[in-house]
Amino acid sequence: MGFNPLAWITIGFAASSAVLVIWFLLRRPLLTRSTKIILLFGIGLLPLGTAMTGNYAGFEATKQRSFCGSCHVMTPYANDSGDPKSETLAARHGRNGMFGDENCYTCHADYGMFGTVKTKLGGLRHVYEYVLHYHDMPLEEAKRTIHIRQPFKNETCMHCHSTQNPGWNAVAEHKSILEPVRTGAVSCASEGCHGPAHPFTKNLSANDPSTKDLTVKGHTP
């Protein structure tokens, strides 16, 4: 990961604030007006700047593929989508400059009015699940059991593929199932169409009876 300039600003704010706070802790000056002003910067304004830039840097960091792949159960997904030789749907999108290193977030984000908030809340749920259920789970077992919580929406695909382009409509399969695709009745990533984005998990989950109920008709994790 390239070092974000925002991170430098965050570190600068934090270092300045820390210098003032440590000076206060070591020197223990009287609570005069100047001390209050120094502490206002040390405890109030500079940490506020640190929080603002740090949070922004944190939100940007959560979009990175490397962030998603930092949990061991997600490592196969991140490695595949970042593999330039892979022919999976995720990898092909990952090679697109519009997706790049943020291809996980770009595909799995909710693009509604509160899409970002809902996506972050979903990310918190991922963390909760990981810490409580999958932290010590072996990777092979995790591949079989981990599944997408809700069916992948065609709207996410239609964010770029509008289904109105003449070139897209020139494809006979597209034209034949235009309405089911637009309504989400038929998934773009279904078998027989573009296939699952992460196909290396499907063979495992298909044979595992514990994950059969998680696979929705027409949708794949």
Binding site: V21, R28, I43, P47, L48, A51, G54, A57, G58, S70
Partner: protein, 223 residues
């Protein structure tokens, strides 16, 4: 007061330590952007930083309130002390004034009484003196008057000599006469007037004629 200051400093130190922890979490999340640091920074770090800033704000607010109260109390104390001092000073001054006025009044009245007594004594002395001096002076004056009686004689003598000599009236008449004769000023004045009256010489001559007539009238005087 010392307890309060120590209490404030403890809370400020707690706030400073919380700030340092929050900053450390934030920096960790930036340097190692993995789920755990980022999650900790965005939850625990945010909470600790907010709590630290809240504690700092409360401490400063309390300190400001305390200092304002102290200032108000000190002002009130100063006002009360001033009022008390003013009361004391006024009371002391009024008592002093009363004492002084009593002293002055009694002293003045005693002085006045003494003066009055002196005045009466002086007046009595004057009366006594006038009683003593007046008869003596009058007797002396009488005596002097008696002693100076020759003056009366002199006056009689003078009267007598005046009667004997009697030249003075004659001289006076003589002096009067030439004055009438000479009478230069009236004449000149008349002369100066006269040309205006076409040189009327007749009146001058008539006056000269009258003057010898007066001088030349011994017959009547002798008769």
């Amino acid at each position: 007061m010392n307890l309060r200051i120590r209490h404030v400093s403890i809370w400020l130190r707690v706030s400073a330590v919380l700030t340092l922890i929050a900053l450390a979490l934030m920096v960790w999340s930036v340097l190692v952007p993995t789920p755990l640091p980022v999650m900790l920074a965005m939850t625990v770090g945010q909470g600790l930083g907010t709590a630290a800033f809240g504690i700092f704000g409360l401490v400063v607010l309390k300190d400001l309130t305390r200092s304002r109260r102290a200032k108000r109390d000190s002002m009130a104390n100063i006002a009360l002390q001033t009022i008390a001092l003013t009361k004391d000073v006024l009371a002391r001054d009024s008592l002093q004034n009363i004492a002084l006025s009593d002293d002055d009044a009694s002293r003045d009245s005693e002085k006045n009484i003494a003066l009055t007594r002196k005045t009466t004594r002086d007046s009595l002395q004057n009366i006594a003196l006038s009683k003593d001096d007046a008869p003596r002076d009058s007797q002396r004056n009488i005596a002097l008057a008696k002693d100076d009686a020759p003056a009366g004689r002199d006056s009689q003598r003078n009267i007598a000599t005046a009667k004997d000599d009697a030249p003075a009236p004659r001289d006076s008449q003589q002096t009067i006469a030439p004055a009438k004769d000479d009478a230069p000023a009236p004449r000149d004045s008349q002369q100066t007037i006269a040309p205006a009256k076409d040189d009327a010489p007749a009146p001058r001559d008539s006056q000269r004629d009258i003057a010898p007539a007066k001088d030349d009238a011994p017959a009547k005087d002798e008769s």
